[in-house]
Assembly symmetry: C2
Homo-oligomer: 379 residues x 2
């Protein structure tokens, strides 16, 4: 089968919670309603609704995981992995890619209109956690009449959602593929997020989150993004891409952009503020900080789950180092869960999960085939 | 010999370049005059002036390396290593600790008065590089009538100065002890510095460097410092110190300081702005970016040097990873230089060079003894 493109796709919106009774009950104790989730689907849901795969995205990404939006030249963020004949083969599977609430990509978030005031929520938006994200995604999955997902997958923050799905609804997940992720952030990850958030919140234009319709805190948000980029790459990939190359061949003996790596960061920081909302950056990183599905929070003592796992990590990833996902794999094995752990050699750092798609495709295809055939050490 | 304290010490100032003829000729082509260097000395210079050791400091440190300032409870930054009976034994050696120009700790820098205007230099201060630092330190050393330093040592940025001394004045250095350093920064290090600098320069209070006497860019400088702290620690030391401990036992479901690691960073960011000048942060990081004494810049082909080296790296240091100093050691060995390379196991990350003083003391004492006795594989 040749690998193909999904062609033109579009983002849709699913809204629920039109009444307080149907609201999303949040982990913080508040209720959110109405709730809109942006999502895309690829492929066809089969008759017994047993071929659905849910894809969860990263911090700054969105529901547009594959195919092309009308008039756009770049495909979705995981187009290398999703499509006809690809790892998540849309000739076989019905792929749902869901955005998260708290974001700014078509789902309810701090930039959405607060129905109580008619103005953007800003900081009145309640804290939404990974638990809340998964609960809202469950409503979306329910809306298709799907009782059990064939698989749930995602990298980085997407992987945290995968693990949270297992913690909340293990019986709804036949297989899980968390990639380059952790079941809780380390203090270093908490710290890096805090620096990004403080850069935003110390920007005078942030204005305690009430900047909509005014100057946006682009300085702070671009600083956060610049730092992010460093953590997504590795020492080796930075050396390959930039080394100490100068933009103009010599030093300016000033604070101008002399090194190519500086130009790259400044460019990406600037570009980011055009496509992402600063408050969403705060809410989403906070949700990741709070996420903790370690050990008995993932599988309570005595509970048996029949989800099969493929866990993938990348050697040069220092943001989500291999030990974090290995820890998950070891725990799953100790719980007699069908577990496959793979470490991919790569110099791309955390970004590897978006770039090492050939190796990932091999692993994911083989794994999904095994699950579909009901073979292996699964119970 | 029992290890003792130096007791009360004080920072002195050495000024040169009272006339344009005596100015410091900078790498950027400009002349700087007059130039003041803050420094401290410990121990006594012997008759033949052969027992002097120069200590070079880190990014945010100063000339106060050991002993106590009158009325202060905390000793100098490397007091564990410098004093009677310590690694740099002031009963034997005359230790000179020199500040760098461009800084804000008593040496000429952007916050100093520009004699041309009578106002603080701000961005009119010329770019001063590690070459310039070493050239100014040479004037200080010359002023004591010292022809050859028994040793030059320093960690991190201090280690870069050590290597720059070798590149410029190898015949003046009997032995060199660069610690946790590199002969040029990697793109990752360049990138981290750029994020810190942009945080400062995007702070509206920075005002293109002309903030003296007004509000200082404390938001930007504190962000830079917070990021710095993350890079000085390691994943393991952060886990040991903070793990995911909460300050108040539960989540605030807000952007308040929930995790202890956040409190630590915010506290240190805030404290830093009281003791360091934002422009100096820019100038000093830029100097580090520009420094490159790799390979033939350290020792030109065919040139022989009789400096003996002890190079020390720390396993968990990810800011200046062991491969960087190993690279220096390998080159030195290929040039038939008397070279000892030691890697110390430590979980402290880059900070280890300030904290693992017992192991460092053992290595440095043994090395200096060997050099003093003229034994070993030195030529």
């Amino acid at each position: 089968m040749t690998k193909g493109s999904l062609g033109i796709v579009e983002t849709r919106q699913f809204t629920f919670g039109y009444t307080p009774e149907d609201a999303l009950e949040l982990e913080c104790g508040q209720k959110l309603f109405p709730v809109t989730l942006a999502y895309e689907t690829y492929g066809e849901l089969n008759k017994d609704k047993s071929n659905a795969i849910l894809i969860c995205h990263t911090l700054t990404s969105d529901a547009h995981a594959a195919g092309y939006h009308e008039g756009h030249e770049r495909p979705g963020w995981w187009d290398d992995m999703i499509g006809p004949g690809k790892a998540f083969d849309t000739d076989k599977y019905f792929v749902i890619s869901s955005n998260v609430i708290g974001g700014c990509k078509g789902s309810t978030g701090p930039s959405s209109e607060n129905p109580a005031t008619g103005k953007p929520y800003g900081l009145d938006f309640p804290m939404t956690t990974v638990v809340d994200w998964v609960n809202s995604q469950k409503r979306l999955v329910d809306s298709f009449g799907i009782k059990k997902l064939f698989s749930v997958s995602g990298g980085s923050m997407g992987g945290m959602q995968v693990l949270q799905w297992i913690a909340l609804y293990p019986e709804m997940v036949r297989s899980a593929i968390p990639i380059a992720t952790a079941w809780k952030q380390s203090p270093q990850q908490l710290a890096l997020d805090e620096v990004g958030r403080q850069a935003i919140m110390k920007d005078p234009d942030w204005n305690n989150g009430a900047y909509y319709g005014k100057a946006i805190p682009e300085n702070g948000l671009s600083i956060a993004r610049m730092l992010g980029h460093i953590t997504y790459m590795s020492e080796a990939s930075m050396e390959d891409k930039f080394s100490r190359k100068l933009r103009k061949g010599n030093f300016s003996f000033s604070f101008d952009t002399d090194f190519e790596v500086e130009g790259y960061l400044n460019y990406n920081g600037k570009a980011f503020v055009k496509r992402f909302d600063a408050n969403s950056y705060l809410y989403i990183t906070r949700a990741m900080n709070y996420c903790d599905v370690s050990k008995e929070k993932l599988i309570p003592p005595g509970k048996e789950i029949d989800t099969a796992f493929l866990l993938i990590a990348f050697k040069s990833d220092w943001l989500y180092p291999t030990w974090q996902i290995k820890e998950v794999a070891q725990f799953l094995m100790s719980c007699h869960v069908d577990t496959t752990y793979c470490e991919i050699k790569s110099t791309y750092g955390h970004d590897a999960f978006l770039l090492e798609f050939e190796e990932e495709t091999r692993l994911v295809k083989h794994f999904l085939k095994r699950i579909a055939h009901g073979t292996g050490n699964s119970k």
